[in-house]
């Protein structure tokens, strides 16, 4: 580490936006490379969405282990400054340096105004992550119903510290479900909602199936899919489920139910099995909508202008950014709200802010962003030292001329 650390002047500063697993990785890696790093997180806790997961796939280990390792590395770093419960309200760019205006926020009451502080840095890593696609947006497909839940809600129910001890129950009867359905691509790959594939929902569903079938011996599950997309080695997850498939407890149905219809005591899912051309209308105790990832910077999630307006002090002369942006940075977003990185700007993007990805890929993406940021800082330092050298040369020449 020392070999790299001497390359940077102590003033080289990096800011990381977002304290999820990706931002945390990026901040720790950057600090270990000798850069003084500031980690800015809007919530009062680190860990982001990963904290709310029941387990990682494919190993099904608890999510705390990865976070604990990172926290241990974080503790050893004196160059890393944490800004928890802090949000970015302003941004300015001058002479290659970024000036971030930060404001401590009260998560309970966003309207409480507090003091502003400024942070000057040389590069910024954006690791703002994602938000779950809201079930309310699928109301016309019948997803707003007590017997319908999203995969993130199920994740919460499955975690050991969930409300029912890791076993989901029907909210009306309080009994464990006997028949459950998963509807894949709920909101994803749909031009009416998000046209991108969220990349993790299929694997997550396979993981959920395994956890549920292990814990509930009477449960039967149907998975309605367009096509199962399990990138990398994750398809092994499905192979691990083949025993349940042979036992008839798990079925994969190539169908897309357009609506969940309340029927008697359950939910019925009218659909066409596209392999057989047969019309299906099975009934279920619980229907899980495998909702996808919407980038946090998505234009759909822009808060109303009034709520986003920071409480600036009277007579504020500093930069005031367009409040329509959910993050006041000069970023290029694609139509879905994913960041299109421009390295020359010194703003680097990582994790689910770039594209939907699973936890392992997010960690790698965070580290990769640090590598790009290091290269950028190094080039700038080279250029600055060359400019400094020529300046000294010129003054020396002028001095000679004078003499």
């Amino acid at each position: 580490m020392k070999d790299i650390a001497h390359l940077f002047s102590p003033s080289a500063t990096l800011a990381v936006l977002g304290g999820g697993i990706c931002g945390l990785t990026a901040a720790v890696e950057a600090a270990e490379c000798g850069i003084s790093t500031h980690l800015i997180e809007i919530s009062p806790q680190l860990g982001g969405r990963v904290r709310s997961l029941a387990s990682y796939f494919p190993k099904l280990c608890p999510p705390s282990c990865g976070l604990e390792l990172l926290t241990a590395r974080l503790r050893r770093q004196s160059r890393l400054t944490l800004h928890l419960a802090t949000r970015l309200v302003g941004y300015a760019h001058a002479e290659g340096r970024h000036t971030l205006t930060l404001q401590a926020c009260d998560p309970a009451d966003a309207a409480v105004s507090s003091a502003l502080s400024t942070l000057r840095c040389d590069a910024v890593i954006i690791a703002t992550g994602w938000r779950p696609f809201p079930l309310a947006a699928l109301a016309e497909r019948g997803a707003v119903h007590p017997l319908c839940l999203s995969n993130m809600q199920l994740e919460h129910l499955l975690s050991p510290d969930g409300p029912s001890g890791g076993i989901p129950v029907r909210p009306d009867t309080g009994t464990p479900p006997r028949r459950m359905a998963f509807i894949q691509c709920a909101g994803s790959r749909d031009v009416n909602h998000m046209s991108h594939c969220s990349a993790v929902c299929c694997s997550a569903t396979l993981k959920h199936c395994r956890l549920l079938l292990e814990r509930l011996p009477d449960l039967h599950i149907d998975v309605y899919y367009m096509d199962l997309r399990t990138p990398g080695r994750l398809f092994a997850l499905r192979e691990a489920l083949s025993g349940y498939e042979q036992a008839g407890r798990l079925r994969f149905l190539p169908a897309r139910p357009f609506r969940a219809v309340p029927d008697g005591r359950g939910m019925r899912l009218p659909a066409e099995n596209t392999q057989t051309g047969e019309h299906l209308a099975h009934a279920y105790d619980l229907v899980v909508w495998a909702t996808g990832m919407r980038p946090s910077l998505s234009p759909h999630d822009m808060p109303p202008a009034a709520a986003a307006r920071p409480n600036l002090p009277e007579g504020w002369q500093g930069p005031l950014l367009p409040q329509a942006e959910s993050l006041p940075l000069p970023l290029l977003l694609d139509r879905q709200g994913f960041v299109m990185e421009r390295e020359e700007s010194g703003l680097f993007a990582a994790g689910c802010a770039v594209r939907p990805m699973n936890v392992a890929d997010s960690v790698r993406s965070g580290a990769a962003a640090v590598t790009r940021a290091l290269g950028y800082l190094h080039q700038r330092m080279d250029a600055a030292s060359r400019a400094g050298a020529s300046e000294t040369e010129r003054t020396a020449r002028e001095g000679r001329d004078h003499a």
Binding site: E140, F258, R259, E272, T274, H279, A281
Partner: protein, 427 residues
């Protein structure tokens, strides 16, 4: 699968396929085969529903299967599938393009490749107009006057269309055209029959119904608008979005009365056209009976207060009302799906026919010679409607009826149900 006896020339084939894709829209190939469209469709059968398989066949270029598919005619073009398609692949436009292609194929005619678009759109009305102007010129040479004003009519107005175009001439032109159209449509229906016939011998179980009762049931459902009764999006997708959370997007995506306009417009149009056809038949019979010297015969023009005349005028206004409904429906649907230009042209043609007919009548009553010119335009447009019928959306009169009749004969007419009380099997 029967092998085509003679392979079509590659050029013709590719131009057909290209035209089909162009009509269906560039998004048609974005289909992911999720199968949502067939479930949304209120008419789709419970076994191998449409339009998913048609989307697949289109993408694969399975022309032969598409030719043998009666299901394209079972779609009533309500557009629910296009509204809810996750890929924006617009299955309703694909079905409409397939129907237009089927009309071209079943009715035959010149290949459309290389023809300018305006010629295809307005060629027939222009041809009709040219024909009637030619007849006008011939009559001018015969009578020696542009506007043969006749003073001796019982109608004091002094304008008599029969003096310019004798009834016999009109009947000859239109009856010959109608005969040709009937032959072409008959050949098309025969081709449909050949294409749809199942291979081998079919064993029918259960009670037999007579072909006549099946045909009657098809016509009854079609003419009464019963078919469209199921095409209500509100019944497929209930209002579950609270009003305050509704965005403008949602409001745009569910045009409130497109289905209502379609049903109402179709019923009004059909009823008024039937009435007008009956009136025309009655007038023709009266004319020819008069020539044969039968005492009860009558001559045109009928007095304005004659019940037949009153009914005919009423039908003209009903026609306008129906056209207005269909026009409104087109505008509501256009917001979220592609519509073929043929439909708009057909509506414009109908508007032109109705308005020119009414205007000719009013000008005649006012005694203005301009009535002859407007009447000529009216005749030209009516002729264009008749002559172009086998290739226009109106050909569905025969082709959809035949397809519905066919599936009724072969027992493929029972759609699945959405309702909570459905007796669909529960595994």
């Amino acid at each position: 699968m029967p092998v085509a006896a003679e392979a079509p020339s590659p050029d013709h084939c590719s131009s057909d396929a290209a035209r089909l894709l162009q009509d269906a829209g560039d998004k048609a190939l974005a289909c992911l085969q999720c199968g949502m469209c067939g479930v949304v469709c209120p008419h789709a059968a419970s076994v191998s529903p449409w339009p998913r398989k048609e989307m697949l066949w289109l993408a694969w270029g399975e022309q032969d299967r598409l030719h043998r598919d009666p299901d394209i005619w079972l779609c009533r073009d309500c557009g629910h599938c296009s509204q809810l398609c996750p890929r924006g692949a617009d299955p309703a436009a694909v079905m409409a393009a397939l129907r237009a292609a089927a009309c071209r194929r079943l009715s035959g005619g010149l290949p459309s490749a290389g023809r300018p678009a305006w010629l295809e759109a307005w060629g027939l009305p222009l041809l009709g107009l040219a024909g009637w102007v030619l007849i006008w010129l011939i009559r001018f040479l015969q009578t020696g006057t542009w506007f043969p004003v006749v003073r001796t009519t019982p109608d004091a107005s002094g304008i008599l269309f029969a003096a310019l175009y004798p009834v016999g001439l009109i009947d000859a032109v239109f009856l010959l055209t109608a005969l040709g159209v009937l032959l072409i449509l008959g050949r098309g229906a025969y081709r449909q029959r050949q294409a749809y016939a199942p291979a081998g011998k079919l064993l029918r179980l259960g009670p037999r119904t007579s072909a006549l009762s099946d045909l009657w049931a098809v016509l009854r459902d079609g003419l009464s608008g019963q078919d469209f009764a199921r095409c209500r999006l509100a019944e497929v997708v209930p209002e579950t979005i609270p009003a305050e959370e509704k965005t403008t997007d949602d409001a745009l995506r569910t045009p409130p009365d497109a289905d209502h306009h379609q049903r109402r417009g179709h019923i009004l149009l059909t009823a008024s056209l039937l009435v007008l056809a009956a009136v025309s038949g009655y007038v023709a019979v009266g004319h020819w009976a008069g020539l044969l010297g039968w005492s009860w015969a009558f001559a045109t023009p009928l007095p304005q207060l004659n019940p037949i005349k009153l009914v005919a005028n009423l039908a003209a206004f009903t026609l306008l009302l129906g056209l207005w409904h269909l026009w409104r429906r087109r505008h509501a649907e256009q917001r979220h799906r592609r519509l073929l230009p043929q439909g708009r042209r057909m509506l414009l043609l109908f508007f032109g026919i109705t308005l020119s007919g009414l205007a000719a009548q009013w000008l005649r009553l006012a005694g203005m010679p301009a009535a002859y010119a407007v009447y000529t335009l009216h005749l030209a447009l009516v002729w264009a409607l008749f002559a172009g019928l086998p290739w226009s959306p109106l050909a569905h009169l025969v082709y959809r009826t035949f397809a519905l009749f066919h599936v009724r004969r072969y027992g493929r007419c029972r759609p699945h149900t959405f309702s909570a009380s459905s007796d669909a099997k529960d595994a």
